[in-house]
Symmetry: C2
Amino acid sequence: MERITIEDVAARAGVSPTTVSHVFSGHRPVSAETQELVRSVADELGYRANAVAKSLRINRTSTVMIVLPDITNPFYPIFARGVQDALRPAEYQTLLCNTDSRKEEELAFLEEARSRRLDGLVFMGYWVPPSDLAKLADSGIAVVNLGEGYGRVDAVSSGDRAMAAEVTRYLVQRYGSDVAFIDGTGPAPVARSRMAGFRDGRGRRPSRGGSARELSEDFTKVGGRRGMATLLDATPPPRAVFCANDLIALGALEEVQSRGLRVPEDVAIVGWDDIDVAALVSPSLTTVRSHPQRIGEASGQLLLSRMSGEYDGPSRATLVPAELVIRESA
Amino acid sequence: MERITIEDVAARAGVSPTTVSHVFSGHRPVSAETQELVRSVADELGYRANAVAKSLRINRTSTVMIVLPDITNPFYPIFARGVQDALRPAEYQTLLCNTDSRKEEELAFLEEARSRRLDGLVFMGYWVPPSDLAKLADSGIAVVNLGEGYGRVDAVSSGDRAMAAEVTRYLVQRYGSDVAFIDGTGPAPVARSRMAGFRDGRGRRPSRGGSARELSEDFTKVGGRRGMATLLDATPPPRAVFCANDLIALGALEEVQSRGLRVPEDVAIVGWDDIDVAALVSPSLTTVRSHPQRIGEASGQLLLSRMSGEYDGPSRATLVPAELVIRESA
DNA sequence: GTGAAAGCGCTAACAC
DNA sequence: GTGTTAGCGCTTTCAC
């Protein structure tokens, strides 16, 4: 309960607080004996420097915030781990925040990041425009956005649009042009790029059913079931379905199977992310592997270079390319 | 870049910093006009209270640390989410820390929690004795340990020992007494309770092979493969294998199948946690469902009641019972 | 209903 | 190599 301060240590060791401070920071030379003495007194008293006071003084918190939709989606723990691994050598801790894809939460966390004077922010959001992030960045916080950069906001992406186009072309070539797309949360930048890529890949010939072949759901299993249900209720149903992430694909798969139809014989399905489960379901899921760990590490690196002051220019972009993993479902 | 402080707002509004403070805290009445004025000035200036300064002053950080082995193990994201959900109404943020099951990391995070003056800690560790946690708790941090309580450290558990005994009895009854156990990281309290339960359940008659039927590996897929390999190399191999978690079980399953043997016909397998994948592998995994979300929420609740000062007594324990989920693998 | 002023625990000029 | 001292930005007595 007792709070031991630097003054207590200084008094007991018969030196000044300054000296104690420098013993621990190494910011200026202290004689060997004094060091020894101070350390032993600190130990004996159980002194722990108050990081809050230090932060107030030096205006750095050694803390980074990671904002993401939901840590429960298997993509994100691995991603978060990547960020943390990159940050670890520099001794940053990370505040992990779930938005549940809600705009108010996204905004609230940005405010929180400002008031807590965090050193960095890794942002994976759906609603907040990059210009808002740029404001944060201008206020002195290093910011990395998953998707597009802007102002001083760095970006990490996996070339979603081009990849989505490639996948779509693969489906068209293999199953004909009647391919549908189940998107995730509409305004999400990720969703928009994948949808755009889908359109690119489908090319000029709009498939039968036209825009009825493009659905917008949530990035969840439930969204996938619902989306696939809608598609299967159409006459005729599409021959292949491209899902904006694996959870959607898993839900879609369930829906198809629950109706006694077969994948890929009746409907082919492709997902995105290559979460662990993708390889284990039956039929195993053809999907896009997007390397969450590497994306996280890249984000952490960009952050570090700004937080250390090593870089302070305009937006940089890191590309962590994704790849198509062909399994049984398509 | 410019740092707007409470003084700036006060000056511009023609009031004292005290008043500005009270407008935002509501800790004492302020006239309606003054409130209005102060708020509009704060808005206009883009004032954001400095949470660090506030923390230093009031000696609370509204921050909780969650220490766990590895967020990449699917049990933990859900658990963490439970903690965060419980804490959200009280506006706490959580620092998420991975120990990779290493003792030095566990200890380092405890130190970090002290120096950052965190309000609470949820600890899931393998090496640090509860008495160390108790010291932290005595220094004024609310502490919840997953497993055993101690001093002022609250505990949340799912009755592992009794459950492990039940599972073992189920296996013995169904497949005879030659059942083996692949444990996780040796000194982990979780590992110890499950092993103890296994012994309870197996009863007096030590199975053929005796202690060779008890292996200690990591809580990972790799550990499972290695453990199962050892067991299968024995003559005769065990008829059923109880694994301390699902990752181990998944690894064990792979190993069995890679040798052309069948589950459960040749070897039955049981896991623990009921992670998503458990239902999806083939054969689907019989396992223990341990309700990570609820365990997390319970931890958050215990923390809250201490952090709010509502409770300040000795260790309390919450039990979130687990249940056996019988599928195909045993 | 409002203000003055002390101080939370640390760091870093600026002395010597 | 070491010490004195002035804050960092807030909250909170104490006073009016």
